[in-house]
């Protein structure tokens, strides 16, 4: 019934206007378009569809049919997960929740007309738009590297084929070879991610290439869970990992993907694998929408609404919201607040005060898991930290194992919460 009526209207306007099919929002059921099907977008789409009981027409625009979670992709590199175990489809969101899943790229947003244009030419009207596009890389952030070099020097910071490529390159390293990582400046997706990755690369190399070396060039004085990682590296991978902070030139790097060299503070080193993780910014669609300030999209913590446009909510890594780290857990948490606010605005559903949580687990070696987390609340100024905790150095093996097992449970929990 619904489809028939739409098709009828669509045909009529296409005939009269000879333009892409647009029917104004405000007719019939309220429409929400969600761009990006990760921890923020998939969760928002699912909660909107689930909690509105069909009173909101929810579309999810995501180019990939199989979504690979960035979280736990390091565990694939370390050999603790199969790649298939971090892949998820949108079948349940479409079939069980009635989300209109569109596999396409969003290439344009008209904020006045309240429409989204897709690469395939379709135009989707919205009453509210939710942007959860994740990150893109800042051009020229690492001299010598641009996105065209990503096959020679992978970033593997969007999971999937890049992650598989990086692992294959590590496995193909010559005996005693060198793995280099160019770590990103703050702020970036998944603060402990690069260091968990170093741990997982070391774990893999220890088994297949124990004389190999790992160099990390880092522009940051300090990094997430530093004491925990450095304790773990000393314990499990003694002498294998050389972390070069800014005091030793870690912030002054240049790479040459054709020669496979890395220059750190002017000293050129031949490397066998180079994982370049450049500086990041909000996914490009935020720039296209004109809602960024600097590299990120500022939002209100009460509703996750853009500070530039109250009809747009932004989630996750792309936002500048305050104290929360850029993580899948954060995006999932923010998505629920946004979904509630959108339902309140469009259907008059009850709205409760925004609350947020985050926990980031990292694996250092087999059964050696650590975590850091905090709770947050919205203030007028930002999302502000309320309380937090972090694993301690010197914890016993049983607790570390329990922490790892907890992270496996969390993975199952959050992916069910995202994809149904």
């Amino acid at each position: 019934m619904k489809l028939n009526r739409r098709r009828f209207i669509g045909t009529a306007s296409a005939a009269t206007l000879a333009a892409p099919t647009v029917w104004g929002a405000g007719h019939g059921m309220p429409k929400v378009v969600v761009i990006g099907g990760g921890a923020g977008g998939a969760t928002a789409a699912r909660y909107l569809a689930k909690d509105s009981d069909g009173a909101i027409d929810v579309s999810l625009v995501e180019p990939s049919r199989s979504y690979y979670t960035c979280f736990f992709s390091n565990l694939y590199i370390g050999g603790f997960r199969e790649i298939g175990s971090i892949a998820h489809s949108y079948g349940t969101l479409a079939a069980d929740y009635g989300v209109n899943v569109v596999h396409d790229w969003a290439v344009g947003i008209d904020r006045d007309a309240k429409t989204v244009t897709l690469a395939g030419g379709a135009v989707l009207p919205y009453d509210r738009l939710i942007l959860s596009p994740g990150i893109d890389f800042v051009d020229g952030a690492v001299p010598g590297w641009d996105i065209s070099a990503q096959n020679k020097m992978p970033h593997a910071y969007k999971a999937g084929s890049q992650t598989e490529l990086l692992k294959a390159q590590i496995e193909a390293m010559p005996e005693g070879g060198t793995f280099a990582m160019i770590a990103p400046p703050n702020p970036y997706r998944c603060p402990p991610g690069p260091y968990e990755r170093v741990s997982m690369v070391a774990h893999l190399l220890k088994q297949i290439n124990p004389t190999a070396k790992i160099i990390v060039a880092d522009p940051k004085e300090k990094f997430s869970k530093q004491a925990l990682f450095q304790e773990g590296w000393g314990k499990h991978y003694d002498g294998m990992i050389d972390w070069i902070g800014p005091d030793f030139g870690g912030g002054t790097v240049e790479v040459n993907p054709d020669e496979m060299t890395v220059s750190i503070d002017g000293e050129v080193t031949n490397v066998d694998v180079c994982n370049v993780i450049p500086a990041m910014k909000a996914g490009r669609i935020c720039e296209i929408a004109g809602i960024t300030d600097g590299n990120w999209a500022p939002v209100s913590g009460h509703t996750m609404q853009s500070r530039m446009d109250e009809n747009i909510h932004v989630l996750g890594d792309a936002t500048n919201q305050g104290d929360m780290p850029k993580s899948g857990f954060s995006a999932n948490s923010q998505a629920k607040v946004a979904a509630m606010a959108v339902r309140g605005a469009l259907t008059g559903a009850k709205v409760f005060p925004a609350k947020f949580t985050n926990t980031c687990w990292s694996l250092i070696d087999t059964d050696d898991g650590v975590k850091v987390g905090a709770s947050y609340q919205a203030t007028d100024e930002k999302i502000a930290k309320v309380d937090g905790f972090i694993s301690q150095t010197g914890e016993d093996a049983a607790l570390r194992k329990a922490t790892f097992e907890e992270s496996v449970g969390w993975y199952a929990g959050i992916t069910a919460d995202m994809f149904g």
Binding site: K336, E405, G409, A412
Partner: protein, 238 residues
Amino acid sequence: MGGFAKLCFAALALGLSGAVAAVERIGDAESGAELWTQCKGCHQIGPDATNRIGPHLNGIFGRQAAAIDGFSYSKSMQRAGNDGLTWTLQTLDAYIHNPKALVSGTRMSFRGLKDDQQRADLLAFLRDFSDNPANIPEAAPTAIRDLPDLSDEILAIRGDPDYGEYLSSECTTCHQRDGSDQGIPSITLWPEEDFVLAMHAYKEKLRPHPVMQMMAGRLSNDEIAALAAYFGALSDEE
């Protein structure tokens, strides 16, 4: 209620748990020995004690939960031990009061000893079989504290399930609605009162897990009741 217990509870009620230094006795160990008959079907204590249905209880004070080698503890008790649950006067008191409120999946099928004085007496008896219990009974870590001392008013709060549903979205990032129990325990279909007690035990840091202490720490009484109502009634349809 005996002098010690009364003093402790009064001090705690005023938030002055450090003020119990003058206390001399936990309770009456002789009365405790009589109460022990309720325990000895499963537990042994004393020179020849061995693990039976339950673990032996020699040296229980100061020991981490689930720490006796060779005894097969429940998953829930092992998890509590890994999280850092240590048996002190305070935690044992809470456990004996209501075992499942402190350790949800414990195999100890004991309804709990609700009488404050009886627990104090039983603890006095158990304490005699701990060689060197740290700080007993003078200092704060071993002071008796009731399991979250919930008034009937708090227990009587009927939660708003709509609010609970919204709040539950914070829980379900980790705890799966369908009751899956892998690494993270299930909280689906818990009896409401158990849920309320458990959340207050985290809130007051009687239960050890840091994530849960943080999550429960900022929940109001009404919010805890709302979550209890929601998870208690969750059906498979969700």
